[in-house]
Symmetry: C2
Subunit: 427 residues, 2 copies
């Protein structure tokens, strides 16, 4: 089973590989590109790749499109690898924007502003794009955007709320990019790092209709008691709405999620099927406390073993999404390790199952492990290794307990990030 | 969907009805009884019915067996209804035993001690039997048992740990009853109120092999720092082991779970199928924090709506087990109401689903509601009713929020108790 779990994890990660994701989503066919069953003009293609995976995504596009690429730009996070490219590559700061982000946004605005009828903008968007492009709507300045972003990050506002505000103080976000790119057509390939893979949430929705409103942006600031810098307050009082779902603008725009938690979990389930396990894809958007999710998994594994519900064994219980940890102690760990440890404890001594939970970026919480791989012997192995697994769980010390049990899952950096993947094999 | 949910709940409750459970488990056939595919001698049947459902279970047995009943006894909780019966009925205290419990245990010991070869003991066991029969092993006295039970209930020990101790200071528990009844055969019909329906855990396992040991009973007391009364300490130091799994004694004993969480959830799933929903029985033993379980349910409902995983709609996501509430506020509610409110919030505004969660005894937590019935409009209805549902959830005020939304599920006392039942319909 351990070997099968490894293969299933590898398949899930490959489905989220940025280069592969672009490669399987584009096909050059004479003067046009086929993508997602649709056809796009490919006489003059401008490639704009922004985000933490911008380098490998741009590389795949260059290789596929060759001489059709008439221009473009790559913007990624400082220190992130960019393979040799013909396109210009810039870098900027993340998670808080810097002057590089302003320069990058300026270059992007120039690029898309120069496009004409018959051109195609191929936008390759991955996580981090929000910060990498700092495009304050005049008269707002970078310093004020930074002040606002910092206040939002500290306030307890969730990422959806933060992005609602960001979209309404920016030129390019919340669909602004495609407004600038018109009359050119836009094909956007999105590599999703958000649960649910909603295009308007990936990279602040550069290419997607924005369901949020200026009014909602103002409400977020009120809700968290944030007094914005004067220029931002003035801008929000009079801001133009971002383009909304149904806007005619989007007749020229196609958004396609080319990789994300869904593809990763679906491919993991499919690979499990190829290996002889009946796959049950529970959900690709499981959120909530890691221990609660582990309780439900434990109950399902028990039920499979006892009655063959919800699916007969041999089977694979697969889910994606993003778990959280309710911090009770000051131990080291992450949601995937906490899930794995909790599951190992609930099913201690039970034979016939094995499971992993992994953060697909290779780092679960602030640790060098991606997660854990556990079975009915793990809790005992932790004890033999000198760590009481129950006390470790109570103190959020999942890393220590799994390490003692030899149950850490270490992948190193994977080059992608599509949240968590959990697979339990029973049979 | 509301109507379908009602029908599914009713079917789940009927499957756990004590009288019906006995009725469908016994068949009189000339000089023998057939039960669970096995045949038992029915020339002289002694009926012993103990627990909160003892009255209705005994009534069903009397009606089915008529003149074959040669004697017996019914022991139930004070104030609980006992229908007119030919058998003697006693009552005793619950959850802490009293003198009535001692008298009842004495009568039971006399009864089973008088049985001979060829007799059948039909034991009907339901929840509460532990307390209703106080059978201290000499030299232990009732007062000492009460002191011990009180200390255990206050210590934070779980019900499994409490019963491990109880079994080792008792004559009848942990299989002691059938040891006394030999050489008669025993057919035990168990109405389960414990998650997982393990016979050794139902009513302290009067008729089941006991996997726990005297040593473990001593460890429980140590773990919670309980200094037992002297007589109990002395007894535990020298106590005889209870009969263990594999003991030849159990060749004369058949334990059959005639009703419980499993049957209830399975019947609910089956009824959903009859109403046109593809049933997915997630598990009959889901435990853990109510909000975590709600997160997983919400993720599954979203997935069904978006991709038809884990089952295509129209479908029913069914589970049993027993949720807990992590107390953060001092509001009124229970685990089923908390689950329902959390689900309503996570899926606010989402159409095409409806769900209930109910404690099958009709009382969720210390409230007069069994649980809640919710859909995508519930959170908004609570707001219109003057209660902020998110603040209510944070303060464990699920009762108040669901009442404001008109989403309380009120059944009144159901006459049975097989833990929680949760059903979400999507389609």
């Amino acid at each position: 089973m351990q070997k099968d779990l490894n293969e299933i994890l590898r398949a899930g990660l490959e489905a989220a590989d940025p280069e592969a994701a672009v490669r399987r989503s584009l096909e050059l066919d004479g003067d046009s590109i086929t993508s997602g069953g649709e056809s796009f003009p490919a006489r003059r293609v401008f490639v704009l790749s922004v985000g933490k995976a911008a380098g490998p995504m741009a590389k795949a596009a260059e290789e596929l499109l060759g001489g059709r690429v008439a221009g473009g730009l790559v913007v990624t996070k400082e220190g992130y690898e960019v393979p040799p490219l013909r396109l210009d590559a810039l870098s900027a700061a993340h998670p808080e924007p810097d002057e590089g982000s302003v320069a990058a946004a300026r270059r992007v605005t120039e690029l898309v502003g120069s496009l004409g009828e018959g051109d195609l903008l191929l936008a390759l968007v991955s996580g981090g794009a929000s910060s990498l492009l700092a495009d304050p709507a005049p008269p707002v300045e970078l310093a004020e955007i930074k002040e606002l972003t910092g206040a939002l990050l500290r306030s307890g506002a969730d990422i959806g709320e933060i992005n609602t505000v960001r979209k309404h103080v920016s030129v390019l976000k919340g669909g602004g990019l495609v407004r600038q790119a018109a009359p050119a057509r836009t094909l956007a390939l999105l590599l999703s790092d958000v649960v649910g893979d909603e295009p308007s949430s990936i990279g602040s929705g550069l290419t997607a209709p924005d369901p949020t409103t200026v009014e909602e942006a103002r409400e977020v600031l009120e809700r968290y008691g944030i007094e914005p810098p004067q220029s931002i307050g003035e801008h929000l009082a009079a801001a133009e709405e971002t383009p909304k779902p149904g806007d005619a603008l989007f007749e020229r725009v196609t958004n396609l999620v080319c990789g994300g938690g869904r593809q990763s979990a679906e491919r993991a389930a499919e690979r499990a099927g190829e290996l002889g396990y009946r796959p049950l894809l529970i959900s690709t958007s499981v959120t909530g406390e890691a221990r609660g999710i582990a309780s439900v998994y434990a109950a399902m594994v028990r039920e499979v073993l006892e009655t063959g519900n919800p699916v007969p064994s041999p089977c694979a219980l697969v889910s994606g999404g993003e778990a959280t940890v309710l911090v009770r102690g000051d131990g080291q760990g992450g949601p995937n390790q906490e899930f794995a440890l909790a599951l190992a404890l609930e099913l201690e001594g039970v034979e016939g199952w094995s499971a992993f939970a992994a953060d697909t970026d290779g780092n679960d919480g602030p640790t060098d492990a991606a997660g854990g791989v556990v079975d009915g012997t793990t809790a005992g192995a932790a004890r033999e290794g000198g760590v009481d697994p129950r006390a470790a769980l109570a103190g959020n010390e999942s890393y220590r307990a799994l390490r003692a049990a030899g149950a850490l899952l270490v992948t190193g950096p994977t080059g992608t990030n599509v949240n968590d993947l959990r697979v339990a094999l029973v049979g």
